[in-house]
């Protein structure tokens, strides 16, 4: 039975390579120019995600939130691991802190200029999560947990999702801010705000995931 699968897969592989692609005539349309014209931001991918495909992006954010909540729910009856082995030597701590600083700065840059240059909310959130993860592997998990609790990070995560949904619904029913001048920092209507909200959401969500996995499984 296994060999049937393998032969079918190889046949599919050869078929995909030998036969020509399906029609790609639509490529003649100047997609970038029309999207930039519609959305008022130079980054056409951001324009697509937060304007043409906004309905899809709402549910993407919702799915991400629910997945993190599911991780928390499934892990809630586990026994936390007693000893968490951390990096304790000085060079790794300094290097991790340096990397975390750089990643955090990059995250802010990607979030606020995501509609002008490569980047955007999701990339910014992942950079922020990387920064938090680098701090988490070198400092004690109780301390990280205390910071997470003190700043009510989980509440902020949910609040940013809710604000994102409200802003997205406002955009979908047609209430848009003026586009402003193309290519400046404050332009493109809601788009910079949506970028920042998604960045906050993804960074805090990945912080929650990192924290849960370290608490219940340790680093190794």
């Amino acid at each position: 039975m296994k060999w049937v699968y393998v032969v079918a897969g190889i046949a599919l592989y050869i078929k995909m390579l030998v036969f020509p692609d399906l029609a790609m005539d639509a490529a003649d349309l100047p997609a970038v120019e029309s999207v930039v014209q519609d959305s008022g931001v130079p980054n056409a991918v951001s324009g697509l995600i937060f304007r043409n495909r906004l309905y899809d992006t709402i549910f993407e954010v919702v799915v991400f939130t629910i997945a993190i909540m599911g991780v928390r729910f499934l892990l809630s009856d586990e026994q936390p691991s007693r000893i968490v082995y951390q990096f304790t030597d000085h060079p790794s701590i300094v290097l991790a802190r340096l990397g975390a600083t750089i990643a955090a700065l990059i995250s802010i840059e990607l979030a606020i200029r995501g509609h002008l240059s490569p980047g955007g909310g999701f990339a910014a959130g992942v950079a922020g999560g990387t920064a938090i993860g680098l701090v988490a592997i070198t400092s004690s998990s109780e301390w990280m947990e205390a910071i997470y609790q003190r700043w009510h990070a989980s509440v902020w995560e949910k609040v940013s999702v809710l604000i994102f949904i409200v802003l997205a619904v406002l955009t979908l029913i047609g209430m848009e801010l003026p586009h402003g001048e193309l290519g400046t920092l404050v332009s493109g209507g809601w788009m910079p705000l949506l970028n920042i909200l998604v960045a906050v959401k993804v960074a805090l969500g990945s912080w929650a995931a990192i924290l849960l996995f370290i608490r219940y499984r340790g680093l190794l």
Binding site: K2, Y5, V6, G9, I10, L12, Y13, M16, L17, M24, A27, A31, V32, E33, V35, V36, P42, N43, A44, V45, G47, L48, I49, N52, R53, D56, T57, E60, V63, F64, A67, I68, G70, V71, L74, L75, E78, L116, S117, P118, G120, F122, V126, V202, G205, S206, A209, F213, Y216, R217
Partner: protein, 117 residues
């Protein structure tokens, strides 16, 4: 140019097929999850390749550039899959952890036999 694109496409399809065969043929749950990640990496690479067919410039409008922009639509579509892939992977790993705690193995056939009445 055309030949390089075809070669790249062949490599991308090989990655996707490797991941797919890993999912259906490997018996270990961890191996299945890792192959699923390999397959999703291949799919993302394929979307990037498709969007590079229209042109090679980053789809960000600028004055000084000359040439054709890459198609922004496949890039925007696949950005969703990257984030969803990350969250689905976290969820799957937790599920594998729970299964491994209930039955001290990660082999799917053993787990299925344990649950068969």
């Amino acid at each position: 140019m055309q030949q390089a694109a075809t070669l790249l496409e062949a490599c991308v399809f090989a990655t996707i097929l490797c991941g797919f065969f890993g999912i259906i043929l490997k018996k270990n749950l961890m191996m299945k999850i890792i192959s699923m990640d390999v397959m999703s990496t291949g799919v993302i690479a394929y979307y990037v390749l498709v969007s590079a067919r229209a042109g090679l410039l980053t789809p960000i409008q600028a004055e000084a550039k000359s040439g054709r922009y890459a198609d922004p639509v496949p890039q925007a579509v696949i950005l969703t899959a990257i984030v969803i892939g990350f969250s689905i992977q976290a969820l799957m790993l937790v599920g594998a952890m729970k299964l491994a705690r209930d039955n001290p193995t990660l082999e799917t056939s053993e787990i299925e036999r344990h649950y068969t009445p």
